[in-house]
């Protein structure tokens, strides 16, 4: 009877009606014979107006319950076979799932699934307690006034089951192997690079373009601008951009070209000054570096863009570099630079801004190329090593894709599994 009360209690929408409802419960208790789970049962949410319909609804069968696989515990999965009345246009409106601790007969509703469903998950179990489950099919009936009444039919209870947490998620076994392989490769090459091992990174097209572009500015006797994006030093793209600034600064120092770096974050300003000082010192011209070459504009996005806009229009630099993380301001910058006739070289890993740079700049480092260029230029073992490690990962995937396609095409499998099923994780 607990269930009836519970259903009624949850249907309380107006606390003022509590008296009526209590009265209804009393009525139900008196009028309806005490039905056990195995028989058809009629419930009513509003006893005063509903008609009791005694149609026979067939119950779901083969109710089984098992501990949910590969989880943290406290969960049991219940499966059943559809009620014979659950088909298109059939009577079943849905299923209610009830649970009882083994030995007691106090079933509590733990789930409500729509018609056509054969599975439910009870996520409110206590690990180690033995439960049994019962699934009721139900039909909602509307009388002429629009009041709802329910016809339900209960299944045979499942055999007892306990929930528990698992020590390993076996769905993810192959995934672990791949993770260990790729991580291993990355760590191996970082170590190798740190120990002074030679790591080959191909020379990227953009790096040649850097030298050329600075050279052109020298010939024309104009300035070079370097824009490191609007993100702070905690963004890897900004860091990569600053590494490239080192190279640009060296070239500028060699040629004696004025390199200007307007920034939008104070930390970037400090780092950029350091980097440039180092670069100028490296080519033996520390005195040629002027701190005013790196200056802070504003940390506001559009304000920064507008300020650079003004600078570009006034000073018409020969070359502009955009290296770092860019957002919507990329458009304004690239457009103005283009209109001023500057050679523009960009590099960013922001996918939504890449199209604009590609369309409006002479050379663009796309995504990972930015990091590769920075690794190449800085020669830092961490970066070089991980670049190589990542390439091993790519090689693994390339080979896997090709082998996979061949195997899928000929229907070959490994131990009964498609190769794609081994890679797929869910």
């Amino acid at each position: 009877m607990f269930r009836v009360i519970l259903t009624l209690l949850t249907s309380i929408k107006n606390p003022g009606k509590i008296k009526t409802i209590l009265f209804s419960i009393l009525l139900i208790l008196i009028t309806i014979p005490n039905l056990n789970g195995q028989e058809n049962e009629v419930e009513s949410s509003n006893i005063a107006t509903s008609k009791i319909v005694a149609s026979i609804l067939s119950a779901p069968t083969d109710v089984s319950a098992k501990d949910t696989d590969n989880d943290k515990g406290q969960s049991i999965t219940i499966n059943w076979t559809l009620s014979a009345d659950d088909k298109d246009g059939g009577a079943v409106s849905g299923y209610k799932i009830y649970r009882a601790v083994e030995g007691s007969n106090e079933f509590v509703e733990v789930g409500n699934e729509s018609e056509g469903t054969t599975k439910s998950t009870d996520n409110k179990t206590t690990d180690g307690v033995s439960y049994i489950y019962r699934v009721d099919s139900y039909q909602i009936l509307l009388d002429s006034v629009g009041n709802k009444s329910f016809v339900t039919s209960a299944s045979v209870a499942s055999s007892p089951v306990k929930s528990s947490a698992q020590w390993f998620n076996f769905n993810r076994g192959y995934c672990l192997i791949f993770v260990l392989f790729v991580s291993g490769a990355i760590i191996y090459y970082i170590r190798k690079a740190s120990a002074g091992g030679e790591i080959y990174v191909r020379k990227l097209g953009g790096i040649d373009a850097v030298d050329e572009a600075v050279g052109r500015a020298t010939e024309m006797g104009k300035k070079v601008f370097f824009i490191p994006g609007i993100q702070d030093m905690n963004n890897v793209q900004t860091i990569a951009g600053i590494a490239i600034l080192g190279r640009v600064a060296q070239k500028a120092a060699e040629y004696g070209t004025w390199l200007e770096v307007p920034v939008s974050k104070s930390l970037v300003m400090v780092t950029a000054r350091e980097t440039m000082k180092e670069a100028y010192t490296a080519v033996g011209r520390p005195d040629a570096f002027n701190e005013a070459q790196v200056h802070f504009l504003t940390d506001d996005q559009f304000g920064y863009a507008a300020a650079i806009d003004g600078m570009v229009v006034r000073e018409k630099p020969a070359t502009i570099f955009y290296m770092g993380a860019f957002f919507a301001e990329s458009l304004i910058l690239a457009e103005t630079g283009n209109a001023a006739g500057a050679i523009q070289i960009a590099g960013t890993a922001m996918p939504s801004q890449l199209p604009f740079f590609v369309a409006a700049c002479d050379y663009t480092l796309i995504g990972e190329e930015l990091f590769a260029a920075s690794a190449y230029l800085s020669g830092e073992p961490r970066q070089l090593g991980s670049l190589k490690g990542q390439d091993i990962g790519k090689a693994l995937f390339l080979v896997a894709i090709i082998v996979g396609i061949i195997m899928e095409s000929f229907g070959w499998t490994i131990g009964g599994h498609n190769l794609s099923a081994i890679f797929k994780v869910n």
């Binding site: 107006n14 993770v179 990174v201 191909r202 507008a306 199209p355 990972e368 896997a400 396609i405 797929k424």
Partner: protein
């Protein structure tokens, strides 16, 4: 307590609100003519108001609802002492504002960085690498359920495989792009360009939508022209 909250009458000062909204809209748009004080004022209001908005929503939805009511529950519930851990880390984070003991803010920061690294490592590797690789392993010829060849799908699948393989080759940095490998990388860039072109088209679509939304507000909601 009843769950139904009576919808209160909407404010009658709605028109004043609309007027403000229109004024600010035009104020921001004035930047299109040139950077000017009106724009700067609107922008300053924007910075202040949005910071205030975030601060208030985070305060009530998280600090109050999640943390405060979690450790000092109202009725019946037992307090969740674990939540103090988060509050302590959060407090250490606030110390960053001080120059002297600001270094201690690195503790919560390393907590966040570590957790993000651990979570992202698996999420990206699984969803963006393994599952994508698995989906690229398709039979060369696509068949319909009645065993007839689906030529269009076959061609489409071929394009996907070609694009993924050559794209990966393009992003290969430890091998010189020469010979067959170089050709592959070249084809890879073509795919990337088509991808960027698609992105470009979609970005234009998105930006125009935002403008249409504003124009609809100005002419429709405010001026009531349509």
């Amino acid at each position: 307590m009843s769950l139904i909250l009576a919808r209160k009458e909407k404010r009658s000062s709605m028109d004043i609100g609309m007027f403000f909204a229109a004024l600010l809209t035009l104020g921001i748009f004035s930047f299109l003519y040139k950077d000017n004080p009106v724009y700067k004022v609107c922008e300053a209001i924007f910075v202040g108001v949005s910071a205030g908005f975030w601060a208030i929503t985070y305060f009530f939805d998280n600090i109050h609802k999640k943390f405060w009511l979690g450790v000092f529950p109202q009725e019946g519930d037992s307090p969740d002492y674990w939540l103090w851990g988060g509050a302590i880390l959060g407090f250490l984070m606030l110390l960053r504002i001080s120059n002297k003991i600001g270094w201690i803010a690195r503790w919560p920061l390393s907590f966040i960085v570590g957790a993000t690294a651990g979570l992202y490592m698996m999420l990206y590797f699984v969803s963006n690498a393994l599952n994508q690789v698995a989906d690229t392993m398709m039979p060369i010829v696509a068949y319909a359920s009645d065993n007839s060849v689906l030529w269009l799908d076959t061609f489409g699948n071929f394009i996907v495989v070609l694009g993924v393989v050559t794209g990966l080759i393009y992003f290969f940095f430890s091998k010189e792009h020469k010979g067959l490998f170089g050709t592959g990388a070249q084809v890879g860039t073509w795919f990337l360009m088509i991808t960027f072109g698609a992105s470009f088209g979609y970005t234009v679509m998105s930006r125009m939508s935002l403008l249409i939304g504003r124009l609809d507000f100005l002419f429709g909601d405010w001026l009531g022209l349509f």
